[in-house]
Structure formats: structure tokens, C-alpha cells
């Protein structure tokens, strides 16, 4: 079977999931099964098939599993959000369409994605500007103490979602140029391999940028995500574990120093360490969110309470679980589908990562390899940062769960990321 036929077949389970998911929510709500769920499933399948046709025409050799896996995540996300809030789900469905449009545009206009290399410094600058936008007075938005959003008029978006792609593109092209010198010029010192100072400089700049992000954006999670993606790329490019260790140490020291001085980040860390401390629990921006997330997950148990059964609101109508459709959507999932459902979700993400890294390994030039590895790493890290935060593995910070959380920027940016991966994949798998 050809790659594209396998892809088409893979979309069927995703559409069935949408149908079954909506059906489950309907049954739970009105105890009658409306055929609307079938309509929703059909529309979803139609959209996916349309995207598939574009892939069939433009990228016939691209990995056949990535798109169906993402469709599975997106359909799961829409059902989950529908169950939380119908209006939000309608918006999310619209964003899904917009995301597919961006996906198609990226594929059509970036057929030769390697030309991105030429604009690497422009792209890097754009990435930095995007990250700093939320601090621009007038349009910047502060949520829970972190600066992650930008609002112009009625439109608001999260620039960090796009910045992550820009920064990975930059790092991939920069490291393609310098990876050789980083290794060859390196000297051994005290058992550590130290890269030559001349090339070490730009790396220090990246470190400095990550630290600045902590100060300006005040978000440990996205800072960690960006810097870890950088280290992952550095490791792939140089195969030197010592670089990674030096980098991680530098980040650790910087983060430790800054968190003790940046109040908001410190609050998050305290809430992480002592979520059940009564004072922290009551404090605004305290540990209420983490504690409620854990309570919700504990309620789920092994198999969960069932679709649509999670307790989200107090009898008064107030929400018991803050941000159930964005930050804490994983907690809602665990509550309703239990440990089993949560593991299934993580498995889908892991499969996507596997396909991503596979693409990186098949790529025939360094830039493509680094780009695919970088995009996959940043994707995986984003999942780790939010799920880790929700499960108290690391401090909780507000990044989205890719393709599942509500949010236009997240959906659109991640579809662009997927398009880039498929572009790399198509070139890598094309018969010579």
C-alpha cells in the first residue's frame, strides 16, 4: 500500500473517535443520541480528507502516520473541549480549519524549505521580537503573572507558540554551519570538552536569551522548553554530552538565581513544592490550581469517571478546576478517562515523536536532520512541560497541550510545525 493510502486509512479511526466522542457526550447530557454526532464526524473526516488530498498532490512521499496521529489528537481535543464548553468547542473547530489552511499554505509556499536557511538571522530576530511582544505596553497581556499573550483589539494570540518554530529554524541553520568547528576546535579541559570561545559566544547568547525570557516573560516553563530544545539540537549536532551538561548547569544556576529574585516564578515553585499548604492554597496565584489538578486526577483513578462525568463546576456555577480547557485539560482527561486514557494520550504523543525523530534520521542533509529533530524536540518538550506541571513532576506553568488544548495560536503554530516536518519527510523519503 502506498504511503498516502495508509494515511487515508489512518484518518478513519480519528473520525470514528470524533463521532463516538460526541455521541458519548450527547448521551451523558440528554440521554438521547442525536445524529448530529455523525454529522460532526463526517465534517471532520471531510476536512481531514481535504488536507490529505493536498498532501497526496504535493508531498506524496511524506510520512503517512504523522497526519492521522495529529488528527486523532485534534479530534480528541475538540470532543474534550466540547464537553467542557460548547461555545469554545465551536471556536476551536474554526481554529482547526484555520490551522489546516496554514498547514496547506506552508506546504505550498515552502516546498523548498531549505531556503529558510538564508534568512536565519531574520528569523531569529523575528522569534525574539515575538517573545518580547507580550511585554510591549498596550498590547501585552499578563496571565497569572506570566507574560505570554498579546492582544490587538479583539484578537489575542500567544506569540511564544510561533516563536518556538522560528527559534528552531534558526538553531538548525546556525548549528549546521558551526557544528564542525564546535567539535574540531574544542579542547579538553579538566575532562570536559570546551568548544572554542569564538563559537561559544553565540551559544552564550542563547543562554542569555533564555535567562532574559525568565526575567521578561516570567515563565519558567516556556524558558525551560526553549532552552532544552536548544540543548537537544546542540547534542544532535555535535554528539558531545559535555556541551549539554555545561549548558544544563548554566541554565540550572541561572534559573536558581533568577527564581529566587523573580517573585512570580518563585511563587510557582513554592506552589509546586507545597501544593497542600493551606496558606499557599488560599493565596491568589498560589497552589489552588495544582492542588485541584491533583484532586481531579485522583478522582479519575484507573479507568476514570467517564466522558462528560468530571466535576468541573460547583453547584453555584463557579468553576472548581481553573482553566480546564487549556492548562488543565490533561487533568480533565485523567479524571474522565483515568490513568488508562491518560496513558493512551501520552502514547499518541510518543508515536508522533517517534515519527519525527525517524524523519530526522532519514533526512539526507544536516539542516533537514537538525530541523526535524529540533521541531520534534520542542514538540515533545511542550508536552512534557504542561503534563509535567499538571502532574506535579515540575512546577506548573501555562503552555498548551499541543493540538488538544483550546487556543488558536497553539493549533495554527503546531499545524505549521507539522507541515515543516512533513516537508522534511517528503524530501527524505523521496526515491533518489
Amino acid at each position: 500500500m502506498s504511503a498516502r493510502n495508509r494515511e487515508l486509512l489512518g484518518l478513519v479511526p480519528a473520525s470514528l473517535l470524533v463521532t463516538a466522542g460526541f455521541a458519548a457526550v450527547f448521551i451523558q447530557r440528554q440521554e438521547v443520541l442525536s445524529d448530529v454526532s455523525l454529522t460532526y464526524g463526517a465534517i471532520f473526516l471531510g476536512l481531514c480528507v481535504a488536507a490529505h488530498m493536498i498532501l497526496r498532490l504535493t508531498l506524496p512521499y511524506a510520512d503517512p502516520y504523522l497526519f492521522p496521529l495529529v488528527a486523532l489528537l485534534a479530534s480528541f481535543g475538540i470532543v474534550m473541549i466540547y464537553r467542557i464548553d460548547e461555545t469554545l468547542a465551536r471556536e476551536q473547530a474554526q481554529w482547526f480549519v484555520v490551522g489546516l489552511a496554514f498547514f496547506a499554505l506552508t506546504i505550498v509556499f515552502l516546498r523548498d524549505y531549505r531556503k529558510l536557511e538564508r534568512y536565519k538571522y531574520t528569523i531569529a530576530a523575528a522569534g525574539i521580537v515575538l517573545l518580547m511582544l507580550p511585554r510591549v505596553p498596550g498590547i501585552g497581556q499578563q496571565v497569572n503573572g506570566a507574560y505570554l499573550g498579546v492582544g490587538i483589539g479583539s484578537i489575542s494570540f500567544q506569540p511564544a507558540e510561533f516563536a518556538k518554530i522560528a527559534i528552531v529554524v534558526f538553531l538548525a541553520s546556525y548549528l549546521r554551519d558551526t557544528r564542525q568547528v564546535l567539535v574540531i576546535g574544542a579542547r579538553r579541559f579538566l575532562g570536559l570538552t570546551i568548544p572554542p570561545l569564538k563559537h561559544f559566544g553565540p551559544l552564550l547568547v542563547v543562554w542569555g536569551a533564555a535567562m532574559l525570557m525568565l526575567v521578561f516573560i516570567r515563565d519558567l516553563g516556556s524558558s525551560l522548553m526553549f532552552f532544552a530544545a536548544f540543548l537537544a539540537l546542540l547534542y544532535v549536532a555535535t554528539n558531545r554530552l559535555s556541551f549539554v551538561l555545561v549548558g544544563a548547569t548554566l541554565f540550572g544556576l541561572g534559573a536558581w538565581f533568577l527564581t529566587s529574585s523573580v517573585g512570580h516564578v518563585n511563587d510557582r515553585i513554592q506552589a509546586w513544592l507545597h501544593p497542600f499548604d493551606e496558606k499557599l492554597y488560599e493565596a491568589p496565584g498560589g497552589s489552588y490550581q495544582v492542588a485541584q489538578s491533583l484532586f481531579a486526577q485522583a478522582d479519575g483513578g484507573m479507568f476514570g469517571t467517564g466522558f462528560g462525568q468530571a466535576l468541573l463546576k460547583l453547584p453555584s456555577g463557579a468553576s472548581i478546576l481553573p482553566a480546564p480547557h487549556t492548562d488543565l485539560i490533561y487533568a480533565v482527561t485523567t479524571n474522565e478517562l483515568g490513568l488508562a486514557g491518560a496513558c493512551a494520550l501520552l502514547l499518541i504523543y510518543l508515536l508522533i515523536c517517534e515519527r519525527g525523530f525517524k524523519t530526522a534520521m532519514l533526512a539526507r542533509d544536516s539542516f533537514s536532520t537538525l530541523l526535524a529533530a529540533g521541531l520534534t524536540s520542542v514538540f515533545a518538550l511542550q508536552v512534557f512541560v504542561i503534563v509535567g506541571g499538571v502532574t506535579k513532576t515540575i512546577p506548573l506553568t501555562g503552555v498548551t497541550l499541543p493540538f488538544v488544548s483550546y487556543g488558536g495560536s497553539s493549533i495554527v503554530a503546531n499545524f505549521v510545525l507539522l507541515a515543516l516536518l512533513l516537508l522534511v519527510s517528503d524530501r527524505a523519503r523521496r526515491p533518489a
Binding site: I27, A232, Y235, V236, A237, N239, F276, E278, Y281, A291, L294, F295, A296, Q297, A298, D299, G300, G301, M302, F303, T305, G306, Q309, L311, L314, P315, S316, G317, I320, T334, G338, L339, A342, C343, L346, Y349, L350, C353, E354, F357, A360, M361, S366, T369, L370, A373, S377, A380, V383, F384, V387, G388, T391, K392, T393
Partner: protein, 474 residues
């Protein structure tokens, strides 16, 4: 560059494995702890969405039921009002739970095993609670409350053979329907209406404790009902002279007569002769020094025994115990009416102590009995022969001694009165009666106590016990 990519993928897989581990930690291993966390109101809120089962008395009187409330929830109401307020308790989202509502919450909310609820979920079934039938007797309870007539005190009645608790009355009462609105006021109010005196009230038992001393004396073989003992007034017990009630001087009398007339100097001396260790042993067998094994929240069950400074329960063999004075129910003894009812019921049941039980059975929404609570032995306290000797002695108390006011027509009653001086100058006493009937085949054992009464056990408490036994034996 492929080798580092493989390693990177392994690292990502390991990180995801870590996420799976922490998710399982919270959902499975720590789930219980999180559910019990005081900050976690989810369980209460979740359970507000479940129709809790009804609670009924043994005769079918509806004691608690759920009515629909706004927001897809249920609200508890208590049709019998303050009749069984303490025994049943309450269950409200903002206050939590108490009483049977708490101790039988699992049955009332239909808590099942994980697999059962999974099957129910797939079948689309809504969780519903089981109906719980108690052993409580509405008639007996009403009789007890009427007899107490608003005086602060408590009545407990137990079926000796099974341990079924038929009456649990505590005055002042409270109405669980009102507790939601006036909890703060009730908690502060004079007389502490929220306190269940039957299980939480610690009172000096006075002479009713001589039943425990007598059981130890007879069962140890050191005494028989006919042993001759000296009832001289003012005998030195533990180095301090002890006086009899009314300063009365008895000569050399048999042990039976010493119980009939409640002679302090006799029982004080018996206690000293038996010693701390033996007295402590028998008390522990009767269930003292431990929370009674009632199906009732632990926080609402107090242990009985000797208490030291700052209300700390002493060791049964502590040197701080004056065993002679303890043997006549003085010293630092604080006992609950439930414990004294257990003492009477144990003697009535031939020396075999049964675990007291408020619940009889639970019936699930499909009408199947989901749980049936059988009679359960706690411990053999004394030999059967000891129990029948002691029964005879206690029957004499009601026939011709201090407890004649408890006598029933045509039914032989056994019992013991108690009058513990609280404020001798103003003649204020803690008055008691413990006993059981009929003597030949005991069907009910009672303990009655009143706080700060100006009467005596035989004149105030015994008639109340009579009224309750009369009603329950009808």
C-alpha cells in the same frame, strides 16, 4: 548524527515514562490520600450529586432521605427531626458529615469496587446509594426522651444477645435539619447540643461501677455472693477513711447484701484486695480504655476509664489510680453511658460482650440486601456462672435494695443505681441506673444518666430506665 537522535528519542521516551509514573502516582497510589485531603471538597461535591440512601429505624420510621436540590444535586432532610439527631447525624456539603451519616457513608453513597463502577458506567447507570435500616427503635427513643423530660443526660439501650443499639438518646437534642443554618450557634450554645452524651459524655459512674468490681471479685474466685465482708463505716481505704452513704454502719454482711445496699466500704476493700492489675484487666475486658467498637465515627466515640491530668487516658495499671476509690466509681473515672450499657448487656448475655451495632442491614436500589450486619462477639468478660451469680445479686438490688423504682410488673429486673457527688455542698449529683430485663432471658439492657441532678440514682434514673424497658419489652 543518527546515534544522538536515537539517544534523544530514548530520553524523550523516558521523560514520557516519568509522566506516566507520576500520573499513576496521583490516580492510583496516592488517590486515597488525596481524596481524604481536607482541602479536597470534590468528594463532598461529587456525593452531593448522588442520591444518598434512606435511613430507617428498625420499625420502618423514615429517619433520613434525599430530596432534589438545584444544580443537579441532592439535599438531605430528616423527617423525624431531632428524635435521632445524635445517632443519625447529618450530611451537608458545607459542613461535612457526622453520626451514622458519616460512619455508613460508604453504604449510603453506594460505593462499589472499581470494577463494579466501571461496569455500571458502561451501562450508563447513575450511582445511587443503598438504603440503610438501623436497629434503632422509635418508640423506645421517644419514651427515653419523654422520661428524660429535658434534663441533660443520656439513655442507651442495647439488646444483650446481639449488641443491637435500640435507644441512643442525648439531651439537649438538636435537629439535623437546622444544623446547616445554625451550626455556629449550636456549636457555641450552652449545654453543647451537638455533643452526643451517650457516646462522648464522660461522667463519674458512681456505684454503678460496683458491677464491674463485683464481676472481677466473683470471676477471680476470691469471692462468692455469700462471702462475708465488713461494712463498717469509716474504714481506711488506701490510707484514707471512706464513708458509706448516709454514714450508715453495716456489720459483717454477705457480698450480695453489700451490693443491694451499695456499701462503699465493702467494695472499696474488695477493690484494694483485687488490686490494680486485676481490676484493670477486667475493665479492659469490659471494653474500658478503648473506643467502643460501635459503627459510629471515631471522633464521636470516647473511651472510658481513669483519666490523668489534661484529660489524658491513664494506663490501666498506672500508679496514679486509687484502686479502692475507683472500685466504687469514684477517683478519676470518666465513663460514657454507652460503656455502662455495655457492662449491663455483658452481664445479661452470660458474660459475653457483644459489639454494639447501630446498623442492621443495607438494601441496594434493586432491592437486594447488599450488606447484613450480624451480631459479633467482642470478648468473653467472665464465666457464665459468674454472670448468673452477678445477675442474682443485681436482681436483688431492684427487688429490695436501692433500685426498687426500676421494678416492672410481672417482669423481674436486674440493675444497679449510682449517685456520684458532683457538688456535695449543694447536693448536686451525677445519677445513674444500669440494668436489664427480664432476668431469666434478658432482652434489653439500659444505662441512664442525668447531669447535675439534685436526686439520687434510685429515685431519678431508675424510673426512667423502667419506662424505657417497659416500652421496649412491650
Amino acid at each position: 548524527m543518527n546515534a544522538p537522535i536515537v539517544r534523544l528519542y530514548v530520553l524523550v521516551a523516558a521523560l514520557f515514562g516519568l509522566l506516566v509514573l507520576s500520573t499513576s502516582w496521583w490516580t492510583v497510589f496516592e488517590a486515597e490520600g488525596l481524596r481524604d485531603n481536607a482541602l479536597n471538597r470534590r468528594t463532598l461535591l461529587e456525593e452531593a450529586r448522588i442520591e444518598r440512601g434512606r435511613i430507617r429505624s428498625a420499625d420502618g420510621t423514615l429517619l433520613a432521605r434525599s430530596v432534589p436540590a438545584p444544580g443537579d444535586t441532592w439535599q438531605r432532610t430528616y423527617p423525624s427531626g431531632d428524635l435521632f439527631g445524635h445517632a443519625i447525624g447529618y450530611s451537608y456539603t458545607n459542613l461535612g458529615r457526622s453520626g451514622l451519616e458519616q460512619s455508613r457513608n460508604g453504604l449510603l453513597t453506594g460505593q462499589d469496587t472499581e470494577i463494579d463502577s466501571l461496569v455500571d458506567q458502561l451501562a450508563g447507570k447513575r450511582r445511587e446509594g443503598d438504603d440503610v435500616t438501623t436497629n434503632l427503635d422509635a418508640e423506645g427513643q421517644r419514651a427515653a426522651l419523654e422520661a428524660l423530660g429535658g434534663q441533660r443526660g443520656a439513655v442507651v439501650a442495647i439488646e444483650p444477645r446481639t449488641g443491637r443499639v435500640k435507644v441512643m438518646a442525648s439531651v439537649p437534642q438538636y435537629d439535623p435539619n437546622r444544623v446547616q443554618r445554625s451550626f455556629r450557634r449550636l456549636a457555641r450554645q450552652d449545654g453543647s447540643p451537638l455533643l452526643n452524651r451517650a457516646t462522648q459524655g464522660g461522667y463519674p459512674p458512681g456505684s454503678t461501677f460496683k458491677v464491674v468490681t463485683a464481676a472481677a471479685a466473683l470471676d477471680s474466685g476470691r469471692y462468692t455472693p455469700d462471702s462475708m465482708v465488713s461494712g463498717k463505716n469509716g474504714k481506711a481505704i488506701s490510707g484514707v477513711p471512706l464513708r458509706n452513704f448516709g454514714g450508715q454502719d453495716y456489720g459483717s454482711i454477705p457480698l450480695t447484701e453489700a451490693l443491694t445496699n451499695s456499701v462503699n466500704t465493702v467494695w472499696g476493700e474488695v477493690g484494694v484486695k483485687l488490686g490494680r492489675a486485676r481490676m484493670g484487666e477486667y475493665m479492659e475486658r469490659f471494653g474500658f480504655y478503648r473506643k467502643p467498637p460501635l459503627d459510629y465515627p471515631a471522633a464521636q466515640r470516647a473511651a472510658s476509664g481513669e483519666f490523668g491530668r489534661r484529660g489524658r487516658l491513664l494506663d490501666p495499671e498506672s500508679r496514679q489510680i486509687d484502686v479502692g476509690r475507683m472500685a466504687i466509681g469514684q477517683d478519676k473515672l470518666a465513663v460514657t453511658p454507652l460503656q455502662m450499657a455495655t457492662v449491663a448487656a455483658t452481664v445479661a448475655n452470660g458474660g459475653l460482650r457483644m459489639k454494639p451495632r447501630l446498623t442492621r442491614r443495607a438494601v441496594d436500589p434493586d432491592g437486594r440486601t447488599s450488606e447484613s450486619i450480624d451480631a459479633e462477639e467482642a470478648e468473653r468478660v467472665m464465666r457464665r456462672s459468674t454472670a448468673s451469680q452477678l445477675t442474682r445479686m443485681m436482681a436483688n438490688v431492684v427487688k429490695e435494695g436501692t433500685g426498687t423504682a426500676a421494678a416492672l410488673e410481672g417482669i423481674e429486673v436486674a440493675g444497679k443505681t449510682g449517685t456520684a457527688e458532683i457538688d456535695p455542698a449543694r447536693d448536686i449529683n451525677q445519677v445513674w441506673f444500669v440494668g436489664f430485663a427480664p432476668v431469666r432471658n434478658p432482652r434489653i439492657a439500659v444505662a441512664v444518666t442525668l447531669e447535675r441532678s439534685d436526686g439520687e440514682g434510685g429515685t431519678v434514673a431508675a424510673p426512667i430506665a423502667k419506662r424505657v424497658m417497659e416500652t421496649l419489652l412491650r
